[in-house]
Amino acid sequence: MSEKRRLLLFLAGAVGLAAIYTAGILNMPAWGTYRGPYGDVIAGLVVFQRHATDVVNAITYDYRGFDTLGEEFILFSAVTGVTLLLRPESEEKKKKFEEGENPASFQDRAALSETVQVFTTAMFGFSVLFGIYIGTHGQLTPGGGFQGGLIVAAAPMLLYVAENTEAFERIISHPIADFLESVGASAYALIGVGALALGLPFLTNMLPLGTTGDIFSSGTIALISACVGLEVAAAFMGLTYEYLREILSRSRNEED
């Protein structure tokens, strides 16, 4: 299809969508006058029922925990998919990658200022700590496993900025990441099965709820959030590694 015809088709679709959408919006309650009952019911109950103060996380990891389990496995299978898609296809290429030295492309560049190197490296520990803090306080304040896990996974990239490629590669390619990813994903499912073993419905919050506002409160919400954090951190490190390996093997092949 030519560029012009494609654009015309888009314009026709856009005008149609705009018309139908506007008609829909005009028949909706005005913005800011929310009338749905579920949000109000849950917001009024969470603190008493689950001893958690962050309602969003209580919903994510408890009230609709079954959905989040599926969501976690979407992430898990996506990482598997990316790993499969980006695998080195020929044995020769794979060998070349494994035998490769640090690629020249990283060393060729003008030296980074020492200030940047020192500070990005120093921020590494801080980022990991901050990620763990966000990940373990999800039941109290905004945060939780997904957010905390991502911050932890992003921390090694600071080393990449500092051009410490070797340390970066060593951290994100560590075999323990794969292991932790599986542990995080399966622990979530096992917590659900644990409730079944006690004769309760799947994923029932069966742990002691603790004092509201405590870090060890809200029963399984905090625990599941931690498991999700573990899986997300490991999964995103795995994703970064797959893409990095792709870049590195390309630059190594070009050298030959």
Partner: protein, 115 residues
């Protein structure tokens, strides 16, 4: 009509993303446009759950029983973000493969891919 502004912004972001995909000449650009298109759903979800004068649904510091915005749609938005990330990761891997097999990153030159 002006009071419903956020709803129209959601549609505008959606159309911007779609326009970018239609006019795209590079597959990475196509994927980024898809993320823009999808971010319209965040605006729409949050706009639906918004309530004038409502507090954030976090009861650390405010007493239970205070009127808040809808936490359910915020939780759904979290799912939305995770799904978007995984979709982008998979699509970018496919872009790498398309470049390897076809030697091109232009959506127009993908005609060698026939079902």
């Amino acid at each position: 009509m002006l009071a419903d502004f956020p709803y129209y912004i959601a549609a505008w972001i959606f159309l911007c993303g779609l326009y970018g995909i239609v006019r795209s000449r590079h597959l990475v650009h196509t994927v980024i446009c898809l993320t823009i298109l999808q971010s319209s759903t965040y605006v729409l979800l949050l706009a639906i759950g918004f309530r004038a004068g409502g507090y954030a649904p976090v009861f650390a510091g405010i007493s239970p029983g205070v009127v808040t915005v809808d936490p359910v749609v915020q939780s759904l938005m979290l799912t939305d973000i995770v799904v978007e990330t995984t979709v982008v990761a998979l699509l970018l891997a496919m872009v790498v493969k398309a470049f390897e097999k076809g030697g091109t990153t232009s959506p127009d030159d993908l005609r060698f891919m026939r079902g």
